[in-house]
């Protein structure tokens, strides 16, 4: 069949720089985000957060709140229905924490909801919430994460065991000609999507429930809602047409959704529950702080002989999320002797979650800083050191990569950046008063394939609709899926409508792990081709068609018509074929990623021992290759030597991601990731008060994100070489790779500029004052 479909790159097709199809509606304010959904008769809820981090509620006085104007419901642990425990991430589920909200009088973290107040207006709800009186028996919280504190081994780390070893790392380290042993630390960070979460729950007369919720995956949120409320999934619909940024924090099921639904059921009216910006700091996870010990052993020529990477991440007492920082080191370089260890601290904080390049972002800061330190110790160029240790096959599994063009990334990047003009001695490059530094680092992210399904419908009136319950987090999913479908159908993209963001559409996993394009893209193509084939089959049997009797393999689709290759007179249109057949539309579905998903999700659900065995058993079928994205980051900084202020003045990332489906949206992902890396390196940090266990600045005033002035003219280049072993589109992921390595490249550039090695992020002026 594939031969039947024209696949040359056409205007707006795969690979074309088609501008974002939803860009106009978003910039004009016409896009309807979740909080904008008009819902008749809706009433308004607020969560009331606990001001203490640990202890019990000894008295809750609801009377004044209940009596306040417009108040309809004040739900606390004393009058809330008993809710179900949820299956959590570490057990293969979708929830951040097992314990449901308002379960009892126990306070496990500051910001934990102690009540839900519902009123006719949002102002009335907020006012009534301020009248709630709660007395607590406080206990001193455990909120300080430091190297001296207790840590435990997590149950699993992304489905793997927390301890991993190959070869004899300690022996090799002891015998190494050169050793680097350092500790690197990264802080507690938050996602801060510009759109905070808002949930609107609407019960229908037949007992079904519609939830408007900003989510990275409507299908998964639907399963979460169903589990939380004990409903069959078919009774639940989740709608999330637009997502104002997710970055991982909208990928998991949170208890606020349950509360909105419970309140709506109790009141018999739709309930809208927005989370405040401050509540976004305690409700949807965060990137936990890490303390990472890296030991490198190398020969005098820079060949790595040992790599030991131990990570501890600060977590929660009520849910497990290890920030898998050692995974980067497991695959980055060809080193025979390797050891990784992941530990977590159980603190009185809310549960962490995935945040852009979870694991790889902090892990690459540690390893790529250490590699720079090794290069300095050896007097070797940092790029040469990395290429000396480039891994022709995945060093951990021994499997060949579907493709790994790290060398080309470095070579192209070095040429574009002008790396040969770098004087290697620290403090040797200046621009007036300012110290100039150039740094580099490797980027790697092992993107995943998730189960995805899509449907394509070709209508007799000429319309073509392709759909999936996918999410577009601002990444460009809508645009590139339209391009993929248009190519497969031989149509210009404006003739294809792609629908997403509704759990009634075809089941698809959440957008995460840079999975969406590479998982859903093949499913969309399969569905589109299958639908087209149905029209072809009708045409070749249609006595009124000029295509009667043609071989399907000879027929091409172009511009809404079917044509016999080499014989343009034998032609018919899709619409005409369907009209004559008396068929209002044909429909076909496509799926992708189910085998790989079993390999991924199985171990998560079964735990590392049984799951590992399962993965091993199915891996020859599911994953003959190792797969990931690669890149080289280049950064120039200018440092004011008096003030220690660091400004990034140039940044360049060169990435190997396979086929670039759309250079505009891919570039946007990459430069966005680099901007994130600038924030991570220089600004972002969530402070927790050590004695009170509370976040000091849960807002965009105190938590510094890069402003435009902090982000220079960032450039991103793609090798754009199809990777046919990766999947039918030849595409890997682009969502996370952009941030990986940026913080290390900046730290390395700061060292090059100043001679000061900062191993603790962010690199703030106080660390460079000397």
């Amino acid at each position: 069949m594939s031969a039947a479909i024209a696949s040359e790159t056409r205007a707006g097709g795969v690979g074309a720089p088609l501008p974002r199809l939803d860009g106009r509606s978003k910039t004009a304010g016409a896009a309807r985000y979740v909080a904008d959904e008009p819902v008749a008769g809706v009433v308004h809820a607020v969560l009331v957060p606990s001001p203490i981090a640990r202890g019990r509620i000894v008295r809750l006085d609801r009377r004044a709140a209940v009596a306040a104007p417009g108040v309809l419901l004040v739900l606390t642990h004393e009058n809330a229905p008993k809710l179900r425990r949820m299956r959590t991430f570490s057990r293969g589920g979708a929830a951040l924490q097992a314990k449901p909200p308002l379960a009892d009088d126990r306070i496990d973290y500051a910001g934990q909801p102690i009540a839900l107040v519902v009123a006719e207006t949002p102002q009335q709800a907020r006012y009534a919430a301020s009248l709630l009186v709660a007395d607590y028996a406080e206990e001193p919280p455990r909120a300080v994460f430091d190297a001296a504190g207790p840590v435990v081994a997590p149950r699993a780390v992304m489905g793997d065991a927390p301890d991993h070893r190959r070869g004899d790392p300690n022996g090799a380290l002891a015998g190494a000609e050169v050793r680097i042993e350092r500790t690197y630390t990264t802080p507690f960070e938050h996602h801060n999507p510009i759109e905070p979460l808002t949930t609107t729950a609407v019960w229908e007369a037949d007992g079904s429930l519609t939830v408007y919720e900003s989510t990275q995956g409507a299908s998964m949120t639907r399963l979460g809602v169903a589990q939380a409320l004990g409903l069959p999934a078919r009774k639940v619909r989740v709608v999330s047409r637009f997502v104002g940024g997710g970055f991982g924090c909208k990928g998991w099921y949170g208890g606020h959704v349950t509360l909105a639904a419970v309140a709506a059921r109790k009141l018999g009216r739709p309930v809208k529950l927005p989370l405040t910006r401050a509540q976004m700091y305690t409700s949807v996870g965060y990137r936990p702080a890490t303390i990472q010990r890296v030991a490198l052993g190398a020969n005098g020529d820079g060949t790595l002989t040992a790599l030991i990477h131990h990570n501890a991440s600060g977590g929660s007492s009520i849910g497990e999320w290890p920030e898998a920082s050692t995974r980067f080191s497991k695959h980055a370089y060809a080193v025979p002797n390797f050891e990784s260890r992941e530990r977590i601290a159980a603190l009185d904080l809310s549960v962490p979650s995935s945040m852009r390049a979870p694991g790889e972002a902090p892990g690459s800061f540690a390893l790529e800083s250490a590699m720079d330190e090794l290069a300095v110790a050896l007097g070797i160029d940092p790029i040469a050191l990395r290429l000396r240790n480039d891994a022709a096959v995945d060093p951990d599994s021994g499997r060949p990569w579907t493709g790994r063009r790290l060398r080309e990334c470095y070579e192209l990047g070095a040429e574009r950046f002008g790396w040969d003009r770098r004087s290697p001695t620290p403090r040797s490059m200046r621009d007036g008063r300012e110290l100039v530094g150039w740094g580099t680092a490797t980027a790697f992210f092992p993107s995943v394939t998730f189960p995805a399904t899509a449907k394509a419908r070709i209508h007799a009136d000429g319309r073509v609709v392709v759909e999936s319950a996918a999410a577009d987090l601002g990444t460009g999913t809508l645009t590139i899926m339209t391009q993929i479908a248009a190519d497969a159908l031989g149509l210009p993209p404006e003739r294809v409508a792609f629908e997403l963001g509704d759990s009634r559409l075809s089941f698809t996993f959440p957008a995460g792990g840079s999975s969406m394009a590479r998982s859903l893209g093949p499913a969309v193509r399969t569905a589109s081709r299958a639908a087209l084939r149905k029209v072809v089959d009708l045409a070749v049997r249609d006595r009124a068609s000029l295509l009667l009797g043609a071989k399907p393999g000879e027929i091409e689709a172009t511009d809404g018509a079917l044509v016999v290759r080499g014989n343009p007179s034998r032609r018919d249109t899709l619409a005409a074929v369907l009209a004559r057949a008396g068929t209002p539309h044909v429909e076909a579905s496509g799926r992708y990623g189910f085998g790989a998903a079993a390999a991924l999700m199985g171990p998560m659900m079964l735990g590392p021992r049984l799951g590992g065995a399962l993965r091993k058993a199915i891996s020859p079928l599911a994953a003959p290759h190792a797969l990931g994205e690669f890149g080289a980051q280049f950064v120039e900084v200018r440092v004011d030597p008096d003030f220690g202020t660091v400004r990034v003045t140039r940044a360049l990332g060169v990435f190997d991601v396979g086929t670039v489906l759309n250079p505009v949206t891919a570039r946007s992902q990459a430069i966005g990731g680099i901007a994130w890396g600038i924030g991570m390196a220089l600004l972002e940090k969530t402070d927790v008060h050590p004695a009170l266990g509370k976040i000091a600045s849960p807002n965009l005033s105190g938590y510094l994100l890069p402003s435009h002035a902090d982000v220079p003219d960032v450039d991103a280049l793609f090798l754009d070489q199809p990777d046919p072993a990766a999947n039918p589109l030849g595409a890997r992921g682009v969502g996370e790779i952009g941030i990986v390595g940026v913080a290390a490249a900046i730290a390395n550039a700061v060292h090059h500029a100043t001679g000061i090695r900062v191993r603790d992020l962010p690199i703030t002026p106080d660390k460079l004052l000397g």
């Binding site: 006012y127 003030f643 600004l683 510094l704 402003s707």
Partner: protein
């Protein structure tokens, strides 16, 4: 949000009377601060009296050759005013270093002076804070406090004042003109703010019911040779770690008079008189600038997390003098 009443009178004395009559009433100008306090539960006024209906936005030259800037003049307009730019450059620079264009379009000169600390424990109401809730304690003392004071702190409070504008005004010998039921008072900027002592909730000498109506800038001989320097973590839209406003009167390369004020180091803009004295009568060169920098921080009393600010303040004073001297 708590219910409140709102009025926008056309008469200044009526506005003052309305606020004076109700201890929980408040004036509102641009609203970029007050509305946040109300949303966050930091303040719960019963009545808002909007000063926007009065004619308080003028920028006028005074008989003495100075400038009178109305309290309701917007940050944007003052920063762009040609007289301000020519005669009081430090003022324009400080205004442009503050906030974002959107905020500067709304925020007023009077409101800017009455903004309150960015101490996170003041802003986040579930923390104890003596400034917000007298007697509740100070979370900054026991928590991360790298943004806090190196001068003038007390056991009760270690917060700093965040205004860039106030620092520039201090270096310009500005006078705050306030009006209450008893009439008008003229308060030198240096006497306008209070150190926390044991009453950090009281931040200025303004009495309840008094409104800032204008800021007057005298025709000072040092005003035209003035600069503002702001050191911050983020390149834009961030409060200062440390800032410096400096204004020098020079004759043949020798300093005749000087004003040096530091920002974000104390609960008020901090006048560095010792640094000024060192400069007067001296040729402005690298050595003089370095000596002034050292003198500016001689009396600093840093906290555990703010020791770096001492170095930063010293170097910022030295740098701004170098910029004025023209060798940077």
């Amino acid at each position: 949000m708590h219910p409140f009443a709102y009025d926008r009178p056309n008469d200044l004395d009526a506005a003052i009377a309305a606020v004076a009559a109700d201890p929980a009433a408040s004036f509102v100008a641009g609203g970029t601060e007050l509305l946040n306090w109300m949303k966050d539960g930091i303040r719960r006024p019963s009545l808002l009296i909007d000063l926007g209906g009065l004619s308080l936005a003028g920028i006028d030259e005074t008989a003495g050759g100075g400038l009178r800037v109305g309290a309701m003049a917007r940050m944007r307009d003052v920063a762009a005013d040609p007289v301000v730019r020519a005669r009081y450059p430090v003022l324009a620079e400080a205004l442009l270093a503050g906030a974002s264009p959107q905020v500067r379009n709304l925020a007023t000169i009077g409101g800017n002076l009455l903004q309150r600390t960015r101490c996170p424990y003041f802003r986040e109401t579930s923390f104890p804070c003596n400034k917000r809730e007298p007697g509740s304690g100070c979370a900054a003392r026991t928590g991360p406090h790298h943004l806090h004071a190196i001068f003038g702190a007390s056991d009760a409070c270690i917060a700093v004042h965040p205004s860039d504008l106030a620092v520039a005004l201090l270096a310009l010998d500005a006078v705050v003109v306030v009006r209450g039921r008893a009439g008008e008072r003229r308060i030198p900027l240096d006497g306008f703010y209070l150190l926390p002592g044991d009453a950090p909730e009281r931040e200025t000498v303004l009495e309840h019911g008094e409104a800032i109506v204008a800021v007057e800038l005298p025709a000072a001989p040092f005003a035209a040779r003035s600069r503002y320097l702001k050191v911050r973590e983020r390149a834009s839209f961030a409060f200062a770690l440390v800032s410096v406003a400096a204004a020098l009167e020079m004759e043949d390369g020798v300093v005749r008079s000087a004003r040096i004020a530091l920002g974000s180091v104390a609960a008020k803009p901090w006048r560095a008189r010792e640094a000024e004295e060192i400069l007067v009568g001296r040729r402005l060169d690298g050595e003089a600038a370095a000596a002034a920098g050292r003198a500016a921080v001689a009396g600093a009393e840093p906290l555990p997390d703010t020791a770096y600010k001492v170095k930063l303040a010293e170097r910022a004073v030295t740098r701004v003098l170098a910029e004025i001297g023209g060798w940077e």
